[in-house]
């Protein structure tokens, strides 16, 4: 009888999938409500200007060295890797233009956003989760302040506005890395390299690539804030929130990128 009772309590795979699906849709609806609240709070006074500037500094300025180093290496490596293939077709002169289009349209925004999600997203997720665990968010609420506006709106706006700036900077440094890469096995002047780059780059390369980075930043900030703000599993929840912020933030970057590419191709 005991064995039979035990068998009856084992969850069937269908029930397990059903439970996970239910949990997934609840999370999606919660995140949608969180996003709507962000939009509402972002456009209603009072504005937390000083906290926004502080967060923009922390998110932007302090991420810059990492983004710059990665950008430089990205341009350098892409050039070195592409050169032999182009050389086989006698198209080495196309190297600056090809690398520039690759970096500006796709690699620069996506790689920078992924690094940003790893550094900034995990930081925001862990910080807010730890504030939640130690009742600091509750303390803000009982003091009559609006913790959502102070913590979530400022951080999400900072990630939304600073990621495009970092991407533009990273693209520039990547192109410099590509110039260095070109000169490792060749001799291209700085002027000629960048003339070739800007000859092939068009508005339709730069504009959509920059616009999508606002959405990357929004997704990274919103997901990190959502995971941290709703953490409720004690100290274990802090690590979980940091981890989830990076994983879901990165996933969202790829999904947004896919949508952006489809959308852009409609106009090309």
């Amino acid at each position: 009888m005991e064995g039979k009772a035990a068998i009856n309590t084992v969850q069937t795979p269908e029930a397990g999938i059903g439970k996970r699906m239910r949990k997934f849709f609840i999370s999606v609806s919660d995140l949608s409500a969180f996003t709507l609240r962000f939009v509402k709070e972002a456009f209603t006074p009072k504005y937390e200007i000083y906290e926004f500037i502080k967060q923009a500094y922390l998110v932007g300025y302090q991420s810059f060295p990492l983004v710059a180093i990665t950008g430089f290496i990205m341009g350098l490596v892409l050039t070195i890797q592409s050169r032999p293939t182009l050389a086989q077709f006698g198209a080495e002169s196309w190297l600056p233009a090809m690398v520039a289009v690759s970096i500006v349209r796709e690699i620069g925004p996506v790689i920078t956003a992924l690094i940003f999600a790893g550094k900034v997203g995990s930081g925001i997720g862990a910080e807010l989760a730890s504030m939640k665990v130690t009742e600091q968010i509750d303390a803000m609420e009982v003091s009559g302040a609006n913790p959502f506006k102070y913590l979530v709106v400022t951080r999400t706006l900072a990630t939304t506005l600073m990621l495009p700036v970092l991407v533009v900077a990273s693209d520039g440094i990547s192109l410099f890395g590509a110039y260095v890469g070109c000169n490792l096995k060749g001799d291209v002047s700085f002027k000629l390299f960048f003339l070739q780059v800007f000859d092939k780059l068009t508005f339709s390369d730069v504009f959509p690539a920059t616009i999508k980075t606002f959405f990357f930043g929004l997704a990274v900030g919103l997901i990190a804030c959502y995971k941290g703000y709703n953490s409720n599993k004690g100290t274990a929840g802090v690590g979980e929130s940091a981890n989830a912020s990076v994983v879901y933030g990165s996933l969202c970057i790829f999904i947004i990128d896919m949508i952006a590419v489809q959308f852009t191709s409609l106009f090309n």
Partner: protein
């Protein structure tokens, strides 16, 4: 009977199937310290979090300073919250801010205050808890007792009419715990604040309580003065005083 500053009637709260508060009623008079005893998990903290709207109750009514908080909009609730201080068990100091910034935080909306007035208020609050020297320290540099004092100073800066203390002496050594208990009493005398003090600490209750209440299974099990409850023959009540 003094003026009533808080009144709870038939408060109920469950988390899933777990009933935390079954039917709690209490009142708090102006300038009175009400100490609430109860086993861990008996719903004491949930009770005071319901009082400030941090947790929404399932049933019952909560009247705070003459206003039913269950019917208030968020902006109105926030205005009312400025008259109610809350000292958290962990003190809940904002760890990315200095002590000065922690104390200034509740004053951010008071645009009529000049920086000199804010500085004076911060200094007064710190003087009340005897920690003027800690003004530029970060919370991580403070001991447990100092954090509780700064937490109390941050609560006092808005000159609240009611203060809710969530286990103010938990985790402190007996000497520091006694200092905090005496500080609670000093605050009551100086500002004539009413307070609800959640604690397991008999010494804290002895020093601070004007009236006491014991919670069991989400209901009020006993009520009276410290001496009345200390002399009680009820097994649960008696167990706190042994």
């Amino acid at each position: 009977m003094g003026k009533m500053v808080a009144e709870i009637e038939g408060l109920q709260k469950s988390f899933g199937d777990h009933v935390v508060l079954a039917d709690i009623s209490l009142h708090l008079e102006e300038g009175e310290n009400l100490v609430i005893f109860g086993k861990s998990g008996s719903g004491k903290s949930v009770l005071i979090k319901c009082l400030v709207g941090l947790i929404v109750p399932d049933g019952g009514s909560i009247t705070l300073l003459g206003t039913d908080i269950t019917e208030l909009s968020v902006p109105d609730l926030n205005k009312l919250r400025k008259k109610v201080g809350f000292l958290f068990q962990s003190a809940a100091l904002y760890d990315s801010m200095t002590v000065r910034e922690n104390l200034e935080f509740p004053l951010r909306d008071q645009k009529e205050l000049t920086q000199a007035e804010i500085d004076a208020l911060v200094l007064e609050a710190l003087t009340n808890v005897g920690l003027e020297d800690a003004i530029d320290k970060m919370p991580v540099e403070l001991s447990g007792g100092m954090k509780k004092r700064i937490g109390l100073a941050r609560t006092l800066i808005l000159k609240p009419e009611i203060i809710l203390y969530d286990e103010p002496t938990t985790g402190l050594d007996p000497i520091t715990a006694k200092e905090i208990s005496r500080l609670i009493l000093d605050v009551q005398k100086k500002y004539n604040t009413a307070a609800i003090i959640i604690t397991h600490d008999v010494e804290c209750a002895r020093i601070t309580a004007n009236r006491m209440m014991v919670i069991k299974d989400g209901k009020c099990a006993a009520e009276g003065t410290f001496d009345e409850l200390a002399a009680s023959e009820d097994e649960l009540v008696n167990s706190f005083f042994k």
